[in-house]
């Protein structure tokens, strides 16, 4: 269906090619997962399928890419619209119209499909994606998962035979991500669609994939194969695979179901062992909280974004705030950071009310890294950014740069922040926020778009910070991150606290928020592969 023959690509003549001599064939009805670190060329590979690379991006492409016999050399993306559907990371940026139904019809209008066929296909697509109740809704009023489904529907109506998705679930909560992935599997199985998908959170997608294409980056040869084979040797792997490697399971299980069948002996070995490090700090031992929100409520228009929420954060504690898209997580962080004032209740950070403090004082008490960390950066180079930050915070010159080196060494100083990889950009934002050494650090969805190595670094950094006496609050959908760093977890739904307690208990008892290891080793409450490794090493000694 899709054939790459001897394809090389570089963004400009001077650059090293990002893809080199790629030969690849993807068959009809395959579900292909593209894996790799950020900046390795995943998006380039995907873009080349419908000709956005190089027709839209510019750059030099040699070799040929053909889709169903049509070459992207002679056909710009618009001529391939009836063959390849392309769905991006941020659905709201791709919407052309304002209502669900019109958005679905847009591509067909361009293709000149007859009105009767158009009507029929829109109805079919509404049913296929479960969107029929939303058909007259304005796009702006939809939730993230719904928007992503509309974006998929909008390309499906053109009845393409290939669907290309670039990180379609990165902004979604676990349940919404499941919803989108279930839709995709259904398309592959029921309609015979060919799906090529790039994704960072492998734990979500690997079970569905027929084949994995590993893009190692810097123009090295692609590794293509069955998920079991590729995952066995892959540097990036979901926790399930790590666990399988540790336990020596063969073949490597890709779904929790397969793993549970193999996990019986491991469960027996772990049965008598202590789940988790025995040094888990008991929260009650340090009584005075460094930051607290008491009975806070927040209102947007007529909607309660937060309703009577209590949160106490102690020194050296990591609290994870979880919940659906829009359950009030971000609002809670905003209240703690003093961006908003609560409608009711009170917020205190080190005994002060954050909403009343001037920004300059506030940043010495609490730092917030928003979802899109890039908005914090506004200078034209990393070096300028560090200098500006020193000046603004009244710090001795070089403080921010030193912090950056601690967070992530080797970030190129002369680069524009926009040219950095996602992980590097987050590092710069973190450095800027951490430079005035606020005792409380708030992170909103920090792992969005991060690959596994960057995520590991983030986890290590958070552990260091906590050891140094910082307190951290993370609002996140990433259950694996919560499993690795959080002491406490709080789940919000519709602005109310659903559960609040030790991360292990909260997370393990929820079917949605449980990490893979916990699902495999239930009913014992193990959270991470590292825990299991340490416990096994201890027992064998």
């Amino acid at each position: 269906m899709i054939r790459f023959s001897d394809v090389s690509f570089s963004y400009s003549a001077a650059d090293e090619p990002i893809l080199r001599h790629v030969d690849l064939t993807i068959g009809e009805g395959e579900f292909c997962l593209v894996v790799g670190a950020t900046g390795s060329g995943k998006s380039t590979l995907l873009g080349a399928i419908n000709g956005l690379v190089p027709h839209f991006t510019g750059g030099r492409l040699s070799g040929t890419v053909t889709v169903d016999g049509r070459s992207t050399r002679d056909n710009p993306p618009r001529e391939l619209a009836d063959l390849v559907g392309m769905v991006g990371q941020n659905p709201s940026a791709s919407f052309v119209t304002d209502v669900v139904e019109d958005e679905l019809a847009y591509a067909m209008e361009n293709l000149g499909v007859s009105p009767e066929a158009m009507r029929r296909r829109v109805e079919d697509t509404l049913d296929l994606l479960g969107l029929h109740e939303l058909r007259h809704r304005p796009l702006l009023s939809l939730s993230g998962g719904q928007q992503q489904r509309v974006a998929i529907g909008a390309v499906l109506t053109a009845s393409p035979r290939v669907l290309v998705l670039d990180e379609p679930t990165s902004a979604l909560d676990p349940a919404a991500a499941e919803e989108v992935l279930a839709t995709l599997t259904r398309l592959v199985h029921d309609v015979g669609m060919t799906v090529v998908i790039a994704e960072h959170r492998l734990e979500r997608v690997v079970p569905f994939a027929d084949r994995i294409i590993l893009v190692p980056g810097s123009g090295d040869e692609l590794i293509v194969g069955r998920p079991q084979d590729v995952m066995a040797g892959s540097p990036v792997a979901p926790p399930l695979v790590d666990l399988a490697r540790l336990a020596g399971w063969d073949p490597i299980p890709l779904s929790v179901r397969d793993a549970r069948r193999l996990a019986e002996p491991l469960r027996l070995r772990l049965a008598g062992l202590q789940a988790g490090p025995p040094t888990t700090p008991t929260p009650a031992s340090t009584p005075e909280p460094i930051a607290e929100a008491e009975h806070v409520s927040s209102v947007y228009g007529t909607v309660m974004a937060l309703n009577q929420v209590d949160l106490r954060i102690r020194r050296g504690e990591v609290v994870a705030v979880m919940g659906r898209n829009g359950s009030g997580k971000s609002t809670l962080l905003g209240l703690l950071a003093g961006l908003r004032r609560p409608a009711k209740g009170r917020v205190r950070i080190c005994g002060q009310v954050p909403g009343d403090l001037p920004p300059r004082k506030l940043i010495k008490l609490v730092g917030l890294v928003p979802q899109d960390a890039g908005v914090l950066l506004y200078c034209s180079s990393v070096a300028d950014e560090c200098e500006a930050s020193d000046g603004e915070c009244g710090l001795p010159p070089g403080t921010t740069a030193a912090t950056l080196d601690r967070v992530l060494p080797g970030v190129p100083r002369q680069h524009h922040p926009r040219d950095l990889s996602e992980g590097q950009r987050l590092a710069v934002a973190l450095a800027v926020i951490l430079a005035p050494a606020p005792p409380v650090l708030l992170l909103d969805e920090p792992t969005r778009g991060l690959d596994y190595p960057s995520k590991d670094r983030l986890v290590r950094l958070l552990r260091e910070l906590v050891a140094g006496g910082h307190s951290v609050v993370i609002a996140t959908h990433d259950v694996e991150l919560v499993a690795r760093v959080a002491d406490r977890a709080m789940v919000l739904a519709e602005g109310e606290v659903v559960s609040d307690g030790a991360a292990r208990e909260v997370v393990c008892h929820s079917p949605v928020f449980a990490p893979q290891v916990a699902k495999v080793l239930a009913p014992e409450a193990w959270l991470t592969v590292d825990e299991v490794r340490v416990a096994l090493a201890g027992s064998s000694r």
Partner: protein, 384 residues
């Protein structure tokens, strides 16, 4: 007469709102203006849908009040001085001789304030009519009805319109980001720091949108492009001439050679361009809005209102115009009252709008605003 619920053709709503607005232009009687405003608000309240843009009437209402206040303040401070009942006297600033006609300060008369308030009211009512059109049928839907030849222009406008709310969200999140870094969010310094990130964000978004449109077949080539371009040009020129012509017909003397000939030439060009361009257009349209009896009813009711005002102007009905010189209460001519009442008909004639399934959606709407921006961009009211 209760029609099954469906959405009325947007052009019918816009025509109705436009005729109400033009009727407001033709009078200076505050009673009539207020009456028009009441009718417009009533119809909107009866027939708007639950979509977010339906709430724009309130915005335009507030805007109208601001216009009235500004108009009165300007009159009080800089206004032209005519004799009358002096309310109070502001300190007079002497101006050099060449600035004759402009004055700052001096005695403020009741008459001049009244006159200014009525002027402001007229503008406010026109704004209200525009707001009503926005509430009843979103501008996007109107753009969808553009003739196929003008499709490209329509897409450009649609994209620009979607861009505005996104911009508000971006600005909110950037302001928050500045606060998070301990920088000023107000004043000149705040503004300068805002401009570059906002522009960057805008550029990013437009690139993503362009890629998405390209990937979805926008701009595919079918028919002879030269022929199509000619048709588009003719249509655009025709529209321009029609507009000029209408303007000339409304305000004689503003367009040389009068409005009617220009209008005629424009109409002919428009018709030619549309038929030539439409015939070979490869694009199709999904569920085009239909024009049925209720559409006729709504547009004719608007025309009836305007007709009453035009007739009143020609016949010279007492009370169409109002001046506070000499000071007296405005009258309410019966003929025009009946005329304005005709504008109420859409409240019963138009089918009730479809419910877009909103009640349970309200929360999600807020979520979106939050999750798409940043932690706490305090931007309630963007999506509504």
């Amino acid at each position: 007469m209760t029609a099954p619920s469906r959405t009325l053709h947007p052009a019918a709503w816009w025509l109705w709102a436009a005729t109400m607005g033009v009727a407001a232009v033709r009078t200076t009687n505050p009673m009539l203006l207020a009456f028009i405003a009441v009718v417009v608000v009533f119809v909107v309240a009866a027939r708007r849908s639950a979509a977010p843009w339906s709430r724009s009437l309130a915005v335009f209402f507030r805007l109208g009040l601001i216009v009235i206040v500004i108009r009165v303040v300007v009159q009080v401070v800089f206004g032209y001085r005519l004799p009358g009942h002096v309310l109070f006297t502001l300190p007079h600033v002497p101006l050099p001789g060449w600035a004759a006609g402009v004055s700052i300060g001096g005695p403020v008369t009741l008459e001049s304030v009244l006159q200014a308030a009525v002027d402001g009211l007229r503008l406010a009512v026109i704004l209200l009519c525009f707001g009503a059109a926005n509430s009843l049928a979103s501008p996007y839907r109107l753009l969808r009805c553009l003739p196929t030849v003008l499709y490209e222009a329509g897409v450009a406008v649609t994209v620009a319109l979607t861009f505005a709310p996104e911009l508000v969200i971006t600005i909110g999140s950037i302001r928050d980001a500045r606060r998070l870094r301990g920088r000023p969010t107000r004043g000149i310094a705040g503004l300068r720091g805002l401009a570059i990130p906002v522009l960057e964000g805008a550029l990013d978004r437009s690139l993503q949108l362009a890629a998405s449109m390209d990937a979805r077949g926008y701009g595919r080539r079918f028919a002879a492009p030269a022929h199509r371009r000619l048709a588009t040009g003719a249509t655009a020129l025709g529209l321009l001439l029609v507009m000029l012509g209408v303007f000339g017909a409304l305000d004689p003397g503003s367009v040389p050679s009068g409005g009617i000939p220009v209008l005629a030439i424009g109409a002919v060009l428009l018709a030619m361009g549309m038929t030539a361009g439409g015939r070979r257009s490869p694009r199709t349209r999904y569920r085009p809005d239909v024009w049925r009896l209720p559409e006729w009813g709504v547009s004719l009711s608007g025309c009836a209102v305007l007709g009453a005002f035009v007739i009143a102007g020609v016949v010279g009905v007492q009370g169409l115009q109002f001046t506070p010189y000499p000071l007296r209460a405005p009258t309410l001519p019966l003929f025009l009252c009946i005329g304005i009442l005709a504008g109420l008909l859409p409240a019963v004639m138009a089918p009730s709008p479809r419910d877009p399934g909103y009640r349970e959606a309200d929360e999600e709407m807020v979520d979106l605003v939050q999750s798409e921006t940043n932690p706490s961009a305090g931007v309630p009211g963007v999506a509504r």
